[in-house]
Structures are given as C-alpha cells and as structure tokens.
C-alpha cells in the first residue's frame, strides 16, 4: 500500500511541472501584456514597469527564477494589484470558495441522494419521473440562469434572502450555495438512482426481506451502502470541480472567492496571478485524484497488486 501511494505521489510531480511550464510560456505568447492600457504608455514608463517586475530579464531566466521562488512557496507579486502578492490573494479567496463549495456539496448530496433513492424505490412511476425530470432540468440549466432566477424569486419578489454578498448580511450564503449545488445535486440524483437500482435486484436484499426485516431497515441499512458507492467515488472530483468552477456563481453573487481572481487574471494578463492560481488549482486537482485513487485501491485490493513486486 505504501509503495502504491509513494509511486502515485512521484507521478504527480512531473504532471505539475508540465502544468507550470506550459502555463508560463503560453501566457507570454498571448498578445498584450500586464501593462497594456487604452491610454498610450510611454516607452520610459513601460521600461520602468518591466524593470520593477523583472520582466526585462531574458524569458528563460525569468522561468528559472520563478521555479526558484516557487520552490520556496513564493508565487510572486501580482501585476494587477500593486503591493499585493499572489499567495496573499489565494489565501484570502480559498476559504470563501471552499466554504461555498462545501455548502454546495452538502446540498448536492442531501437533495441528490434523496431524489435518487426515492426514484429508485418505485422505478417507472411518477415518483421516478418527477425527480428525474427535475434533475435533468438541473443538469441542463446553467448557473448563470438559475442564479438570477433564484434571486428574482427569493430575493426580489419574496424578499426573503439577500441578492448578493458573502457573510455581510444574514442569509446571503444560501442562494449561491443552492445555485452552485443544484447541478451537482442533479448529477448525484442520477448516480444514486442507477446505483440503487442495481443493488435492489441483488440476492442479499431478497435475503434481508426474507428474514422479515421491515422495508425501511432493508433500504437504509443494506441497500444504501452498496447503492451509494458511485456517489462516494464521485465526491472527490466533484469537490475539485466546485473549487475551480465557481467563477460564475461568484460573479453573480459578488462573492470574494478564488474563481474571480482566476478569470480576471487571464483578462488582465496578470502573469504571476494566472500562473499562481493555475498551479494551485492543478495541484489541488492532482491531490484529490490521488486521494480518490488511494481510496479506490483501499477498497479494491486488485488495484494494489499491480504495484507489488513479483514474488520469487
């Protein structure tokens, strides 16, 4: 097992290195630059700005010094926000995005599993069709439509919840969490329905019923365990997706999370910020995949054997 973990961790390093290198040179290839503006910038001013951020050095040398700084955990200063560092902005944005992602995931699991299980209990009935149709709509509806719709109903018409913000006004966390969670809830509903359907036809459930157990115990204690396995293995990638993909929701609801920095950095050609957020998120995704691989290997010994040395 340790050998497996060690090998997978070693494999993750070149992946991240490739991400860094590609991003570094790709953003430099894009037209424009961090100091382009609609107003003309005189050559002297431009030279001074480039000197301040070491952009006057040869590109390869910049790359090497970036790697050097990175090795010390320093992602450099941002070009867009003088006086701030990339580290600092990531540290500020991450807890917000993580909290939003966590609530969204919670909502997704709660509603998704409930709908999926209900549907699986009476397949091809109204109890199946209604939640599954709702789930289908949920998957299809983009968050930039769902968000404003929820705001319109609960914020403007009913006046129950604030229309924007994060942690400033009581209740302002509900609508963004719902919006972000909805799509994942729909996906989880479908996963848990198919997982449950497969389990429901297994022999051991017939045995459980034959023992005379009440139906609720059969479902909760026996069926759910097996039926929800696909959902469990989906949670890791889902959370990584929530962390890196909350930009739209953050924009709609004025949330000071990581996603906004990530996208704004690209528009601003804020080289260090693009690199910093990309490297950070890539590392996070690699890490989550690693964890889910380890979990899978722990559940399934056959995978582990592939990494064991051949016995003499």
């Amino acid at each position: 097992m340790w050998r497996f973990i060690g090998l997978r961790t070693l494999l993750a390093v070149p992946v991240i290195l490739i991400v860094i290198t590609l991003t570094f040179f790709l953003v430099r290839a894009a037209p424009g630059g961090p100091f382009s503006s609609e107003k003309a910038v005189s050559p002297q001013v431009k030279a001074a700005l480039e000197a301040q951020y070491r952009l006057d050095q040869p590109l390869f040398q910049q790359y090497l010094s970036y790697l050097g700084d990175l090795a010390h955990g320093d992602l450099g200063p941002t070009f867009r926000y003088p006086g701030r560092t990339v580290n600092e902005l990531i540290i500020q944005g991450l807890p917000v995005t993580a909290e939003l992602g966590l609530y969204a995931l919670l909502i997704a699991v709660l509603f998704g599993v409930l709908a999926g299980v209900l549907a699986a209990l009476k397949p091809n009935s109204a109890q199946d069709y209604v939640p599954m149709s709702v789930a289908m709509v949920g998957i299809c509806m983009p968050s930039f439509l769902l968000g404003p719709l929820l705001v319109l109903v609960f914020g403007i018409w009913l006046g129950w919840l604030p229309v924007s913000g994060w942690g400033n006004i009581p209740g302002d966390k509900i609508l963004p969490s719902l919006t972000l969670g909805a799509m994942y809830a729909a996906y989880i509903a479908r996963l848990s329905r198919s997982g449950m359907l497969e389990v429901m036809s297994q022999d051991y459930l017939r045995t459980a019923r034959a023992k005379g157990l009440p139906e609720s115990v059969v479902i909760i204690k026996h069926a759910l365990r097996g039926g929800l396995l696909p959902v469990v293995s989906y949670l890791g990638p889902a959370f990584a997706g929530l962390l890196s993909g909350s930009f739209v929701v953050e924009t709609i609801f004025q949330i000071p999370g990581l996603g906004r920095f990530y996208v704004q950095a690209a528009f601003n050609r804020d080289y260090t910020m693009i690199l910093g957020t990309t490297v950070f998120l890539a590392t996070l995704i690699v890490l989550f995949n690693l964890l889910s691989d380890i979990a899978a290997a722990w559940l399934n010994p056959r995978l582990r054997f592939q990494f064991r040395k051949a016995q003499p």
């Binding site: 424009g32 503006s37 910038v41 431009k46 701030r84 604030p162 229309v163 994060w166 924009t251």
Partner: protein
C-alpha cells in the same frame, strides 16, 4: 444504524441549521435604510481597485475612493466644476500666467495628526515623477518647467524642476507655458500628496511592491480614512477627525463594492443594498425611465465614442474615402435604435459643453454627398472597394453598433465591411501596432479642457495611432494654444485645430458618452456633471426620504 451514521447525520443537521438560522433574521432593515440613519453611504464601484496609491493607479473605481481619502491643492465644485480651494487656501498667478504661488492652509493635517506642509507636496511630486516608479500619469506634470526632463530621466536633480518650497506653507510652481487648465490638473489624483514617513517605513518610495497603501498602513489627508479593505468584497472609509474641513463632511462612512456584473449591481440596488450604482444595464434604462424616473440619472459625459481609421492603408489614405464613410453613418438612427436614445450623436471629437467650448459641426448625415465623394475617389457605387474590417473589443454593445454601421455602409455606399472582434488585450495590441483598418475606440477626458482630447492627435502621439499628421495642427496644440490665457481666444484656436482634424477625418465620431446611475431618493449633494465627478464632502443622506 451505526454510531458514525448518527454522527454524520448530526453534522449535516448542524451545518444546514446554521445556514438556515443565519437567514431567518426576520424583518431585517435594508442596508440603505440603516445607512440613511447612520450616515453610511453604500455605493457600487465597478471593479476591485488596483490599489490606492494615487501615483500608481489609473482607473475610475480607484479615483472614486482616492477622492475620499486624499485631497490636492485645489478641489472642484460638483455642480459647476469650477476650482475651489482645498489644501491651498488661496493662490496668486503671475501676470504672464506662468508662476503660481500657493498659500497652504495651516490647519491641513494628515490622518495621523501630522501637519501637512509645502514640503509634503514637493516630495510627493518628486516621487510621482521618479522614473523608476513608472507612473502612467506622469505626463500630467509635464507643464511644469523641467518636469518632463526629470520624469524621463534626462536630469536627476529635482531642484531644477519648477517646484519650490518658499516656506512651510508656501509652494511656488513655475510652468513652461501659461497652461490655463493647470489648476484642473491639481485636482487629479496623480498630483495628490502622499505621506513621506509612511511610505519610507514600508520600503522604497518608488517600489510598486510597497504595502503602504493598505488598510491599517495608509495615512492620507482627505475627508475620509481607510478603515477596511476586503479584496473583491468591499472597501470602507470613515470620516477623518483630522480633516481641516471636517465640519462640512456629513457622511460618517462610505462603503464601496466592486460590482463587476451590471445586472447584479442593479439587483443589489433594487434589494436596498446600494444607495448608488456605478452604472445601469442598457436594456433596463427604458424601463426605469418609464416606471421609476426618480431613481435613474442620466447625464452627458466627457467622453466620445468613435471609429479610428488607419490612414496609412489604402484606400483609407484618401481623405475623400474617409469623409464618405463618416457621412454615410446615420447617427440619429444609431442612437435611437441601438443605443436606446440615451446618448447624443457626435460630429466632432471634443464633447459639447466642455467648460463653454462648442465643437464645430462640419458635416452631417448625407448619403448623396458620401456617394459622390466615393465616386470621386474611384469607387462609383462602391465598385472595386477592397475588403476591410471593423475591429472592436468583444462586447455585445460594440457588436450591435458595428452591425448597424455595416448595414448603413452597405446601403448608402454599396461597400461590404467585415466585423472582427478581439479580446481586450489582443485588441489593444492590434491598435498599438496599427494592425487594423477601422477600429472602435472611446476616449474620456482627464480634465475639462478641449486639450485633453485634441492633444491625442499630435504627429506620432501615443494615442493617435491613425497616421494623422498636420504641422499646423501640431503648432496650435503645442505652441499657440498653451500661450494664450484668454479663454475665448484659446477656444478659437482649438476650434481651428478641430476643424483641421475633422476635415481630414482620421476618425469617425459617433456619439458622446452618457453617465447613468441608479440613485436612492435619500442621496443629496451629488449633482450630475459632465465629469461624473463626486465631491464627497458635499454628499449627505436624508433619512426622511
């Protein structure tokens, strides 16, 4: 069910319960209503400011905050835009208009209680001009003797620059030419003073990496002090007890929100989270005008939307072709349909009403004459006209305008034009390298004077990028106009220059910008003006409304 199951269920309940509890505040007072009572002004401010160092930043969101935190030698009246005393109590101007002597008030203080003196200004201006800082607005100082030489590194001794401290409260400035808009520039944040001791405590004064301009560090001299700054969430400034005119300041605090998304901002306003919005989504303007006209404010703005023409590329090197294109655009129709009728058609580059300046109107919508001009240039009925493109940065409104103009040129001139949209930075790059045929552009004046628009089109000017070059034009802008002190005489010169420009038509003016805001009825002391300028010490909230 096992113990872990119970635990998990409990955790879920606690988390969800927390989420719900925070929401059930019941009949909560809106932010605006609470703000009216406490004197706290909530404002949508466009984007997250780059920073708050007046010598580094360049945008409008930054301007709105810096205007509350700092103050220059003079300020502007929000209604008339005429200059009013600020840190300088009074000033004398020599007969030739080149020597300004400012008398600073003795009670001006920094937000830490330090007195504000003439030396603070001298040091701040030297810092702003230091080449290593790379201030994008350093040209604002270039009217001062030797400022340009210092700013571009030709001289390194600041004592040669025309800024002299006569005593603690007297500052003398010597200009190259009488530059009648010089006082306007002194209300631009690039000439505001910064606190030397604070800057030096946080490292090199000319480093952009310095953290002096952050909440907790920043020392300023304006009506408000920085109290909170949560990136991408909000910035809060509180009334400063040390401000010399604190009695006049009625607001207790201003909270700025980076409202990047216009529709979100409009929803925040409707929900009572904002007193004032940075802008209004174009498609919502007719509804507001019809149903709640008391909440919306639209005013002419010191900016022009135009197409620039690459006059170095045939067939656009022929002025007749350029004039034909300009005359074949029905601006009234464009404004009334695509732009919802809220802007004014433009026929010149300087917006009308720039402190009494009236731009010349040298042409009008005339498809007949446009066709004749095009035929004279060798393209009767548009035959044989080479293919070309309109370039614009990717945005729906620019696209709509381009489509309308494409249609007008096809109908009126019989020529086909392609549309090319590029992402902002790519578009800037294309303009910079003159890699375009015709390109959308907008220009907002830095100060209220025709010069702020007309000096763009100097030969080889960094913002020209059309290839336009006219010796007489250069002479008026660089030599003649700066020497004249009389406003009427100057404006006559500017009109002559603008006539040269428009006759040559390296640009196609389309419309004059408008500022649009949503504003709660409780907001007072924020009149509309052509600069969309707010003077925070005039603003107050009337809880009765």
């Amino acid at each position: 069910m096992g113990l872990t199951g119970v635990k998990l269920k409990g955790l879920v309940l606690v988390l969800l319960g927390g989420l719900l509890l925070t929401s059930c505040g019941g009949s909560q007072q809106s932010q605006v209503a609470a703000g009216n009572l406490q004197g706290v002004f909530h404002m949508g401010n466009g984007t997250e400011p780059q920073g708050l160092d007046p010598h580094i930043v360049t945008g409008l969101p930054e301007h709105h905050i810096i205007q509350a935190l700092f103050e220059g030698l003079v300020t502007k009246n929000p209604t008339t835009l005429e200059i009013e005393p600020a840190v300088a109590e009074s000033w004398d101007i020599s007969a030739d208009g080149r020597l300004y002597t400012f008398h600073l008030r003795h009670d001006a203080r920094w937000s830490n209680g330090d007195p504000l003196t003439a030396e603070d200004f001298r040091w701040s201006w030297q810092r702003a001009l230091t080449p290593a800082l790379g201030s994008l607005y350093n040209y604002m100082y270039f009217g001062i003797v030797n400022a340009e030489a210092f700013g571009t590194g030709q001289i390194t001794d600041f004592s040669q620059v025309g800024v002299k401290v006569l005593d603690d409260y007297t500052l003398q400035v010597e200009l190259k030419e009488p530059t009648p808009y010089f006082l306007q520039i002194l209300d631009h944040y690039s000439t505001f003073p910064v606190h030397r001791a604070t800057l030096e405590a946080f490292g090199s004064a000319s480093s952009r990496l310095s953290q002096w301009a952050r909440a907790g560090n920043l020392v300023s001299n304006g009506p408000f002090v920085l109290s909170e700054w949560q990136v991408n969430s909000h910035i809060r400034v509180e009334k400063s007890p040390y401000y010399w005119d604190a009695d006049k300041v009625k607001l207790n605090a201003i909270v700025y929100y980076p409202t990047e998304n216009l529709t979100t901002e409009e929803r925040m306003f409707r929900d009572g989270q904002l007193h004032f919005t940075n802008s209004v989504p174009l498609e919502k303007i007719p509804t507001y005008l019809k149903e709640q006209p008391e909440l919306i404010e639209i005013a002419p703005y010191l900016g022009t939307y135009y197409y620039m023409i690459n006059t170095t590329r045939p067939p656009f090197d022929d002025a007749r072709v350029r004039r034909a294109l300009a005359m074949a655009v029905d601006r009234k129709l464009l404004v009334e349909t695509v732009l919802q009728g809220i802007v004014e058609p433009a026929y010149a580059i300087v917006p009308p009403g720039t402190l009494g300046y009236d731009p010349p109107k040298l042409f009008s919508y005339d498809p007949e004459q446009a066709r004749e001009l095009l035929a004279a240039a060798g393209y009767p009925e548009g035959q044989g006209f080479p293919a070309f493109d309109i370039l614009y940065n990717t945005q729906e409104s620019h696209q709509k305008i381009a489509v309308a103009i494409q249609q007008m040129w096809r109908q009126n001139l019989g020529i086909d034009v392609g549309l090319v949209n590029q992402e902002w930075q790519v578009y800037l790059d294309s303009q910079e390298n003159m890699n375009y045929d015709i390109s959308r552009r907008g220009w907002i004046g830095d100060y209220v004077d025709p010069n702020s628009f007309l000096d763009m089109f100097l030969t080889g000017g960094g913002n020209n990028k059309t290839g336009f070059s006219n010796p007489r034009y250069d002479q008026i802008i660089l030599q003649d106009a700066p020497k004249v002190q009389d406003r009427d005489q100057r404006y006559a010169l500017f009109r002559e220059a603008e006539t040269l420009l428009i006759d040559n038509m390296p640009i196609i003016p389309l419309y004059t910008y408008q500022s649009s805001h949503l504003k709660q009825p409780s907001v007072k002391g924020m009149p509309t003006n052509i600069m969309d300028y707010y003077n925070w010490k005039y603003v107050y909230l009337d809880a009765q409304e």
